[in-house]
């Protein structure tokens, strides 16, 4: 009993610290990436005894000290309580959303089977969407409590944008849920461990030698859904090209123009934690989650014959490592996106959300449903 509680607490603590640390490191990666893309030397000012360490010293040591020792300014005409509450409301959903994303299969330690996932809810992905929908409040409340016209504009933009893209985001993963037939992310990740040839119906089995060896990852079934989901998710994290709520060139810094010090750091950390969650979700839904291609519970089973048996601990470590690598890749992709694209105009954001993403997501759901019914002559599930 005590051990069980301890295991759960350890898992929760591990995932929480991983997300927070990654959020911190992403702050550094973002600076370095922007410097790299803009062909300049970036983030190399702070140094300890002449050691700048690629700017890592900057972001990991100097920045937090600077943030936490700055004056915490609350606008005199603003609302003290809500102004303080808003950063917490922005950070909390971003940190807890990662709880249902599995980072590995199972780990057997001394007769105890540990599910490498903090919480295995049967509503899985809906939990993440509900937390994502709560993250609007940080912006809206912060914007209103600042009592500043620019921040109010940012807050209004933010709430409209996030509600619009939530719908497209939810609908775009419907196809994946229909194919794997579950809302549980651990089940979705497990189903992606099979090969494509187990899923293809007999009437296109002639393709088996060509693509049958591929793992049954979501991207191969739902490439359109991946693009739709990625776009909508970037819009949900409010980053360029969708950073209209803060749009420096129009409304100064939007919803957090009146924030400084630790509270601004919380908004910042919340944004990076959201990036990590989006990367984890994309990995789990479309890129096999913790699956290493051809790696089963007892080792590698290559589709061209041949097996390589591995001890259970090595398998678990490989899975967690693969998951981490994939998440890092998608974090990198989002940062790359931010420094490569210009900002949309606000009417363009709204038009893209309602007139393109939403109908395309609906179309994707319908096409997927028709195909599933058509394939059911041969059962889709292996």
């Amino acid at each position: 009993m005590i051990v069980d509680i301890g295991i759960i607490a350890a898992k929760a603590l591990m995932v929480l610290s991983m997300v927070l640390n990654l959020a911190g490191v992403l702050g550094w990666i973002e600076r370095k990436a922007s410097a790299l893309i803009q062909n300049r030397i970036g983030a190399n000012r702070a140094s300890i005894f002449g050691f700048a360490g690629l700017g890592l010293v900057n972001t990991l040591i100097a920045d937090p000290i600077k943030f936490l020792t700055k004056e915490d300014f609350i606008p005199p005409k603003g609302d003290r309580l809500l102004h303080t509450l808003a950063p917490c409301l922005a950070l909390f959903p971003a940190l807890v959303a990662f709880a249902v994303i599995p980072f590995g299969d199972i780990l057997v330690l001394a007769d105890r089977t540990i599910n490498l996932q903090v919480a295995n809810l049967n509503v899985g992905i809906l939990y993440i969407f509900s937390m994502a929908s709560l993250s609007v409040y940080g912006i809206v409340i912060g914007a209103w409590a600042s009592n500043n016209k620019f921040s109010l504009l940012g807050g209004v933009r933010g709430s409209a944008q996030m509600i619009s893209y939530e719908i497209a985001m939810g609908l775009s993963v419907m196809g994946i849920l229909m194919i794997y037939g579950t809302l549980e992310l651990q089940e979705i990740a497990r189903a992606q461990g099979t090969l494509l040839r187990d899923w293809l119906p007999p009437w296109i089995s002639f393709l088996n030698p060509l693509i049958g060896w591929l793992p049954a990852w979501g991207i191969f079934f739902q490439p359109a859904a991946f693009l739709l989901f990625f776009t909508a998710a970037v819009a949900e994290t409010k980053r360029i090209p969708f950073d209209l709520p803060e749009a420096e060139s129009e409304i100064v810094a939007g919803y957090h123009v009146e924030y400084s010090g630790g509270k601004f750091l919380m908004f910042f950390a919340g944004e990076f934690a959201e990036i990590v969650t989006v990367a984890g979700l994309i990995t789990t839904l479309f890129f096999g989650g913790w699956q290493v291609p051809f790696l089963m519970r007892d080792g590698f089973h290559f589709p061209w014959g041949g097996t390589l048996f591995l001890p259970q601990l090595v398998v678990a470590l490989l899975q967690v490592g693969a998951f981490t690598l994939k998440v890092l890749f998608f974090c990198w992709l989002q940062i790359l996106l931010r420094w490569s694209l210009p900002r949309f105009r606000y009417d363009q954001v709204m038009r893209l959300g309602w007139k393109m993403l939403l109908p395309l997501a609906l179309l994707n759901v319908m096409v997927t449903a028709v195909l599933i019914v058509a394939w059911q002559s041969a059962p889709l599930k292996p």
């Binding site: 809500l82 929908s133 809206v140 807050g155 996030m162």
Partner: protein
């Protein structure tokens, strides 16, 4: 049981705050907190799906639109109402309570711990099963009602274009 008492107490406190706050934004935020606490109550009753949908739909979408409208209008503090309003409001509340009591007594005052939570109760599958078999007519009527509301909103908004 202790958990239930804490949650129920908190949700009552927050729902009272919704009514007695003079500041509209505070009222709206208290309503969000109430809806969130009720969602947690659903979770303790093994109805995870209903609880999560409560957060997703009410706390996460409808209340955001409320706040959006409030922030656009920016009404400031509400003025105190006269005694007549208080009496009328209380009367309406009491009437609503009497309308709701039959349903409560029909369901036999379930307390947490004695909830009939067996097997797949409250799972997405069982919820969908009952929605699409036993309650398919109310379900479809509700969706038609929403469609009518959407079309009505579009018609009203179009007139000014």
């Amino acid at each position: 049981m202790i958990l239930f008492l804490i949650l129920a107490g908190l949700s009552i406190v927050f729902s009272l705050l919704v009514v007695f706050q003079r500041n509209v934004i505070y009222s709206a935020m208290a309503l969000v907190a109430t809806l969130f606490l009720i969602a947690v109550l659903f979770l303790t009753l093994e109805a995870a799906m209903v609880g999560i949908l409560q957060i997703l739909v009410y706390a996460g979408a409808i209340m955001v639109l409320f706040l959006f409208v409030i922030m656009l209008l920016n009404p400031g503090l509400l003025e105190g109402r006269s005694i007549a309003w208080w009496i009328l409001g209380s009367l309406a509340a009491v009437l609503l309570l009497f309308a709701l009591v039959p349903f409560l007594s029909d369901s036999g005052w379930l307390l947490p711990g004695q909830a009939p939570a067996g097997g797949s109760f409250g799972s997405p599958e069982s919820l969908a099963q009952s929605l699409f078999t036993d309650f398919v007519l109310p379900f479809e009527i509700a969706s038609v009602l929403l469609l009518v509301a959407i079309i009505g909103a579009v018609v009203l908004a179009k007139r000014e274009v």
